[in-house]
Assembly symmetry: D2
Homo-oligomer: 383 residues x 4
């Protein structure tokens, strides 16, 4: 019996566009999806580039105006993977057109945007998804399973740091990710939102936060361009290079979070640790196939963090690919996410994370930023 | 201008068939290949299974008789990925039909087979490739580059161990990989051949070897089957569970090699270390995105093995995928290999490793086995 | 020519007493000290136990009243290693008696005590020392040297977590370290003070802090004792089980600090990382012979954290002991500290850390505690 | 009640002399020894140096002729820690004088010497000890305990490599450790003997071996000396720089051993791994407080090597020192050995390892060397 077709239109064709396209191409190769995924349209503003992307990434066709994607009656899912400043308009339009919205994170550039987006999706009655892809690393999903099984008991601590170094050199030029008007925030939204999601996924809702943000390098050279910046011209960085905050979870756990693009040598070091009454878990994205697990219920003499290679058939997602010990890469987190979104859609159950999760995430980001500006603790859900 | 098409027929559809198919699908998505790869035919003996594989893995069609693939005038490349007992017949036929032969390793079940295969390919005048895919992990290719640049100087030691544990349990049943008639040898050919290839790639030809082989569990339960084995029936394991040997390289380096399927906890632990006059290199497939490099020419106080994340644009292959720190997985080694084979083919240069490498590899395997039987050192290239 | 004698009286004979005694015995065996250290008197309130300690730990004699040590004209150095509630009285008396005061950390149970102690020492005109022993791990001293040499440039981040798990089990009984009247604070003073010292040593003074403290287990069983607690009796824990804070250093670096006794599996995990413009450094006390160093000034393709084994003659302290690769242990940090204190004393230069460092450290602890109570940022040096 | 005194005379005062002296000084500080150890005499040929050593290392007096130590009726234990060429004569004389002989490893420079030494000790009826100190690292003793408890079941593999790099530079000068007449062999006896001991301790007797030895740098500069070598003079290295062998244990396990001084970056990398039916163990001396343990009997999803910090009171020796997580160093292996030797002596039980173990060890070294010369497998205990 033929599977129903799920027709996707993807807005955005750069880094995330490439990752999402790969996921759409590959998901059905490894998972027995309920749908045939049809990659109909990719969309971007620069025709030559998007045409090339369509060809390279495997799309049937392309558009240069996202409204044509949203208006296309054949398209079931609109995937919003543009820079943050256009998320809100596109997602709201797609929701209003009755589309299933799958959206990159953070969903908006501001909390107000996120609220509008979530409201539109809610009003549409359609399911949604947000690309917090790291939930879908097998080791992370295994951590979740172990927590749900009570293997570490009551959680005392969640400790996360997402560290990169790509702009640590003051000579690195201005790019759109350093402009608040384009991206909303810097390290906070780009990578901090990932560790917020992991904290929410593994431990629960954050109650209050208090943090500090910093822009270490406040001016950067503009890339010379025809009719644009001349030699020596600089641009002002108006987003955070780094952010750190302490937090309290609703369940009483203490949280520490840090996100920085100024940690030399840390390339994609998204590390967390959860300490509970009965054990601990630790993960680092740079070794994303591994989960460290400490089980305090065992006899003392053989206590120790175990290095679990989360590549076994007994682990989430991993059995769909290769034999144990044959590792997966970054891109597979997106493949797994798409497989899960497809399954949730077909089965009529709520996809997690969805736009409500995206909104809650943005409440945390907003609270962190306010706590910095107000130099005070801020409750995530208002007074 | 349209690219020339490279039409592939793949014989075999199980583990390696899945990995190769993925490589054919993906290579052109990440590399600017000189060819359009056309996945025309996949071939296997069981029609239902191969038809399903064709659909899942992305082939236009399937066959159940490999001769139809070899005889298909549209097919340029015959990829031999069956169990070892059929490699020779297929590869020789394909070479004689003028096909480009790409072959899984070890190329034959015996040295005699390998010699026939290499001779046939040589006679065909066509290029070839062998799937020693680990050369194509970016970290391994980087190791090679550093050695070629003289960064570790004269090589003193090559030390490799490929350890797995999937049959360490005596209750694990008989499978074809434990039958000499199907597979030629056990750990030696399956995983030992990989470390032979890495030694040859990084250090050079082996001159002589002396080793020992062992079958720790000599009988295993047969899986009950209709009209076949009853309960309690056992099969005789006639291949090696483990093998270890010492070796001398032509350049004077000392080599130690070990391959085992009985190393509990080691899932796909393919580890090597190279020690040279000016530095050292170390790699472990379970963390295949990392290369350890020790540079002895630096001031003593800051000496130390560096953990290079071989995921940067400056590293081999890695720049085709994701930003630094976003890791690749096992499957990408095949994608890289296919991209390189396509490029070599188009440019008319020798692909490495090719069937001559496969033959030299088999000479080493054969010498190791003879050294075990004769309890003596054996020269790899005869007297 | 005979060396001058440095006569020591040690107040306290438990964990720290044992560690300090070892240091006094061993320092002259490995370092060419300017003094002969004479271990004259150890002091404790329980005669049988202190007499036994004197014998086991190598002291000439013992006292049960610390005033007799302070009053002993032969004694040059009074080492204050009791529980925190008696530090102030003893140290002030010793300073007033003209003794050199060497004191365990944190120097007082409150900032007021620390101020009195530092004032008394200042008034005495005598040098002093505080046992922030981790500065004297060779790897930490090497980190300091590399920073001073400019190898990591301007510091952006200091990130420290001192994690233990010895009271994570709610059934663990009340001990004096959980009573505020005895110990001043919990994780904050006991282990948090160590990371404050490391931050000050490596990066500089902290300007302001904002943190949160938690007591996860608020009542614990009292150990049954004759005439004391009966079965089922509980005591109230009135110190922090865990503390975390964000901070700003005077030089503009961002700091994150965490100290917890509730991190299952972390036994003595005192980890810090410093990220600077030109590189990074990382250390973990559980592997205290190793320093990780990332040098961003090298070519990109061989970038990576180096694992320096800080056991070489070119490293601080290490050359006094064993050949490279032969590791040191926890106790050697005290031996090195005593050797340095002896040298500084003889050469008339300021020992670091001394009581002024101890006071500054306590200012930070006090600011953290106030920030928790006031739910606000607190400046370390008042308005 | 006063403890009996155990009076020691130590022959040799360099690296091992320093390590043994430390052990004699420290053992009674941490262990409740059955003896008071009296450090009476240290002995060396160069009076000024040995007098200085006596003072620095804590001996009552010194001698320049070892016969005076052997003849001293007050001395109970003669500790033979000279270079290998004098072991035999001293140890035999000490045994014949009725002394307890404690001897550095390998006990002799040749098997013939070792046989004479063991025979003399046997004839004396006195107990003995050999300084294979690595058995006394808590992590190694824990490995032994886990094996004895059956935690890894039948042993399949023992894999050991002891790697250093101190002579990897061809410009490193001649020293006595490179002269066969002084030292018997090179890497084989110096560090290879340690891994032989670990293999025997953990797995059992070796049955047969086949190996290869190499001297990569055959001439080295002589250190210029008055009346001796002039500039440019070279000496001939006549011992092995590196050795590797395969082996069979009596119980059927396969062994691989390698010892090298030419492994750049490996400072004191004494690593072993034992793979058994039910689990595996791994150790590296550079992180000597850690033991890795894999338990295959646990559920698959939480399988993984555990990093045991062997610093807990539940681990061998560790409880005598500091709290969990406070690591020990190289020197403590000797302290533990002396404590065990003292206890065994008092209790009248056999010390392990003793001179019989030393002899068995030397049989293996001899067999490895013969296998190299004969290019053949050699049985350790003759035909």
């Amino acid at each position: 019996m033929a599977k129903p077709t799920l027709t996707v239109g993807l807005i955005g064709y750069q880094f995330m566009g490439k990752a999402h396209s790969n996921a759409y191409r590959q998901a059905g190769r490894f998972f027995d999806l309920p749908h045939e995924i049809r990659m109909k349209t990719i969309c971007g503003r620069t025709e030559g580039a998007v045409a090339e992307a369509a060809r390279t990434l495997g799309w049937e066709g392309y558009e240069t105006d996202w409204r044509r994607v949203v208006d296309d009656p054949e398209i079931d899912v609109v995937d919003v993977s543009t820079s943050g400043d256009s998320h809100c308009e596109i997602a709201v339009a797609a929701a209003e057109a009755g589309k299933v919205v799958w959206c990159e994170k953070p969903i908006g550039n501001t909390l107000a945007e996120a609220e509008r987006m979530a409201a539109a999706v809610r009003a549409s009655g359609r399911p949604s998804a947000v690309f917090h892809n790291y939930r879908f690393a097998p080791a992370v999903a295994l951590a979740k399973r172990l927590i749900d099984e009570g293997r570490i008991g009551r959680v005392y601590h969640f400790r996360a740091a997402y560290l990169q170094d790509w702009i640590a050199d003051p000579a690195f030029p201005m790019v759109w990710r350093l402009e608040k008007s384009r991206t909303g925030s810097g390290a906070l939204g780009d990578i901090g939102s990932h560790i917020v999601d992991l904290g929410r996924y593994l431990v629960g809702e954050l109650e209050e936060v208090c943090g500090t943000m910093e822009t270490f390098v406040k001016e950067r050279p503009l890339a010379p361009s025809p009719g644009g910046a001349g030699p020596g011209a600089v641009g002002v960085v108006d987003v955070d290079d780094a952010v750190a905050w302490v937090a309290r979870f609703e369940g009483g756990a203490m949280g520490t979070f840090e996100a920085s693009r100024f940690a030399r040598g840390r390339k994609n070091h998204n590390r967390f640790e959860v300490n509970g009454e009965r054990g601990s878990l630790a993960f680092n994205l740079e070794r994303m196939n591994e989960l460290e697990f400490y089980d305090a219920t065992e006899p003392e003499a053989t206590h120790g963090f175990r290095l679990i290679q989360a590549t076994d058939g007994s682990h989430p997602f991993a059995g769909r690919y290769w034999p144990v010990g044959h590792i997966l890469g970054y891109e597979h987190t997106f493949v797994n996410l798409v497989a899960e979104a497809s399954a949730a859609l077909q089965e009529g159950r709520r996809m997690r994370p969805d736009m409500e999760d995206g909104l809650e995430n943005q409440r945390v980001l907003d609270a962190v930023e306010r706590s910095h500006l107000e130099r005070a603790w801020v409750r995530v859900r208002g007074a």
